[in-house]
């Protein structure tokens, strides 16, 4: 099943996010080789050029490095991955508080609800 995109933002941006998530979550482990551009592009059902652009951006960010002849590899730099994780988490937190605010729920109450929810999850 190909990945899903929305039409409102550039696809390559969304590709960056998706691959970053895979790296941060460990699905693409540090130091391992990524699938080739062509494979990734086929899997995501996007044009190889688009995938290329996404990978270039990841390289620029230091999450991926390319070795001329053997392909692209996930960075070994744990700190770099950790920073990416923090960026993603930051965005999730922003979304969370913003969506709660749209409901008319302030940060304090949102936090309280999250604590309750966590307690309930803990019961499982």
């Amino acid at each position: 099943m190909p990945w899903q995109f929305d039409n409102q933002r550039p696809i390559y941006t969304q590709l960056v996010e998706i691959i970053t998530l895979r790296i941060v979550s460990g699905e693409y482990a540090p130091g391992t080789r990524l699938p080739s551009v062509r494979e990734l592009a086929a899997f995501a059902a996007v044009n190889p050029n688009t995938m290329q652009r996404a990978l270039a951006e990841l390289e620029r960010q230091g999450l991926v490095r390319s070795e001329r002849t053997s392909g692209r590899y996930v960075t070994d730099d744990a700190a770099r991955i950790e920073a990416a994780r923090r960026d993603q988490a930051e965005q999730i937190l922003n979304d969370f508080f913003q969506r709660m605010a749209e409901l008319g729920v302030g940060p304090a109450q949102a936090l309280r609800m999250a604590m309750q929810k966590k307690e309930m999850m803990h019961d499982d």
Copy 2:
């Protein structure tokens, strides 16, 4: 500006969510008249039938009542609106913890990050 939809879920479902949010946030105040089906449909750039379906669902949920010749009105039932708010909040909380889990961040740590974030917002 027309509303935005993604193609992965039925439009009428998304309409229900959007209008529910408007009601819960007070943008469509209790007891007030909603725009007509045709106006809403034109505004959202969907077929009137699709909007009709969404509004019928909202009516079934008790958030909206329709008066045959004069239009549709937001419910006066504060408890009903409060229940809808809770439902929405529940969904936001689920999204939050799920996205954090995808990052490899467990509920406890996610909560800790939210507390920090809230403190920073408090500084603003």
Copy 3:
């Protein structure tokens, strides 16, 4: 509001039933003058000929008598009206047991349910 007909049975038959019901229920009282054919036809939104046919049938049944110059009158014969009431009741009873049978509910159980229902109505 004109009376309602279904297309599956002759309209004049349905007119007979409706007027019989009015007579039996006392809405058209014994001995009183019925509205003219034209008035009845206009009210029921049917062709005067159709209404004429219905009234002729009622006359044949003895529920209505016509006086040449002054119009049509509901019969004074209480026994005749009582018989009509019984006919109608008979049909209602048949419908009742038949519909219950379609549900898979036999006469004995149907009767039991009717008794319960009556008790509940009595509580009101």
Copy 4:
């Protein structure tokens, strides 16, 4: 033979009632597959969308469940079917007493007539 509708109520509502009756009476047995939307629509001589709407309502009520690619199935939940039977019976009882009341026959007498009728049926 196509099913019959009256023009005074929405067709989809009448479809719900008819199919519910078929389920409650066991004609559509628990757990069995219903004819496809298109077949049912053709049989009832209505638009597939109208039939779809009726089936969606039945699904919402829990009398029917749909499996995306294989068809719709009558629920296995005997309690759910029993509840539907009770609802239908309730409506029949209401109709019965109401029609009798229109005849000027009160509940007590209506019940007495039903008992007599049942005795006569028992003689058959």
